[in-house]
């Protein structure tokens, strides 16, 4: 009898300790304000109509203090190096037409302002959505007489980072009224809630239902796209949105769709929309 009581007491003690550990293991978003070079970024906002969550949050709020500080200092942020690299590419002549990006678009600070906040857009000619990477390729092939970049070419990542950075701080807004973009949005939404892979996970399983919790040693965020391409400390490099999509899908042990495939373009439309109203943080810093 006494033995049983001792056992129960011991079990209770274990439960208490375990409870504490569980609590400490939660990874709720922090209350913090992101100010970069005096510019206040929108990291928390009301979602657009039809959004399943009450508050839309930037992934920045889910990161640890060190990572948050690294992004907040535009000098220290290693992503700034890729912005500078992209600026060089912007002014470099390539292809048979003897043109650079700047030959037509002049100063990116003016001509590219707002681009990063409003893409993906509807491409009427191709009858599918177009993102910044594909728009660059289109320009290269049609206007510069240069080759399209291979997916995730370091130059593609740097130039995309540079172009998206021109919308730094501007709120994300995808105009779904153009062309068939709404249909692609629906397709992306279906994908977002479809479980796939051997682990039987949908995007929503982690990023909608469990954001703020840990997945192994990592904090789950809402998975918004406003910081992409983003500097990931793990890779010590800029990571493109489609690379991250593929990484996530691979981790569910599913077959991964190709970058810029219909599946991932639809997902980009939907996921970007989910982050509506958040500031473009490119180059964001994540773990």
């Amino acid at each position: 009898m006494l033995n049983n009581r001792t056992m129960i007491a011991a079990l209770c003690a274990v439960a208490v300790v375990f409870g504490v550990v569980l609590q400490r293991a939660s990874a709720d978003p922090v209350k913090d304000t992101l100010v970069i070079d005096g510019k206040k970024m929108i990291t928390e906002t009301k979602p657009p109509e039809g959004h399943p969550l009450d508050v839309v949050r930037s992934g920045w709020l889910y990161r640890e203090k060190d990572t948050r500080e690294l992004e907040a200092d535009s000098f220290e942020n290693p992503g700034s190096l890729y912005v500078a690299r992209g600026a060089k590419i912007w002014n470099t002549v390539e292809g048979s037409a003897g043109k650079s990006c700047a030959s037509c678009h002049n100063e990116a600070a003016k001509s590219m302002k707002g681009v990063g906040a409003s893409y993906p857009k509807w491409d009427a000619a191709a009858k599918r959505p177009i993102n910044v990477e594909l728009q660059i390729d289109k320009c290269r092939v049609e206007n510069m007489g240069a080759k399209a970049y291979k997916f995730d070419d370091p130059k593609q990542r740097a130039l995309t980072t540079f172009i998206k950075h021109q919308s730094f701080g501007m709120p994300v807004h995808v105009d779904l009224s153009k062309g068939d973009l709404k249909a692609w949005w629906s397709k992306g939404k279906d994908e977002y809630y479809t479980r796939f892979g051997q682990l039987n996970l949908a995007c929503a399983s982690c990023h909608e239902l469990n954001n703020g919790k840990h997945i192994r040693a990592d904090h789950l965020s809402q998975g918004n796209a406003n910081g992409f391409p983003t500097y990931r400390l793990k890779q010590s490099h800029m990571v493109s949105l489609h690379n991250r999509f593929r990484g996530c899908i691979r981790d569910t042990r599913a077959e991964t769709p190709k970058a810029f495939s219909d599946e991932l373009m639809a997902l980009e439309v939907y996921v970007t929309w989910r982050g509506s109203g958040l500031s473009v943080e490119t180059p964001a810093v994540r773990q």
Binding site: F75, E76, P78, S80, L81, A84, R85, K88, L233, S236, H237
Partner: protein, 107 residues
């Protein structure tokens, strides 16, 4: 592509002031411990030395090791007594030397 380091030195300072200096160098810092797709070791390629001089006199220097992450960031302080030029030098394993300079006016 030739890489351009980022440096931040105050443009002006008072005599005897201790100024903060920040440097960020784009570099892969390949440790030499990793292997490529075919299982062959990827040769080490890191910035192994950094020095800072002020008007030709050494102010700060450090050796960097393979465990240092890509794009090494260094922050340090220097006391300035006169106007002059800071010169920063990064030395790569392959012998490439990258330099950058920044003037400071001391009043």
């Amino acid at each position: 592509m030739a890489e351009t380091p980022k440096i931040r030195v105050p443009k002006t300072a008072k005599k005897g002031e201790v100024v903060e200096i920040k440097t960020l160098m784009p570099h892969i810092m390949e440790s030499g411990q990793r292997k490529d797709k075919d299982g062959k070791p990827i040769p080490r390629k890191i910035i192994n030395k950094f020095t800072a001089e002020f008007n030709g006199k050494p102010v700060f220097s450090t050796s960097l090791e393979p465990a240092v992450a890509a794009n090494p960031y260094l922050q340090f302080f220097a006391k300035v007594e006169e106007s002059g030029t800071f010169k920063f030098t990064w030395t790569d394993d392959d012998g490439t030397v990258t330099t950058a300079e920044q003037k400071i006016t001391v009043s």
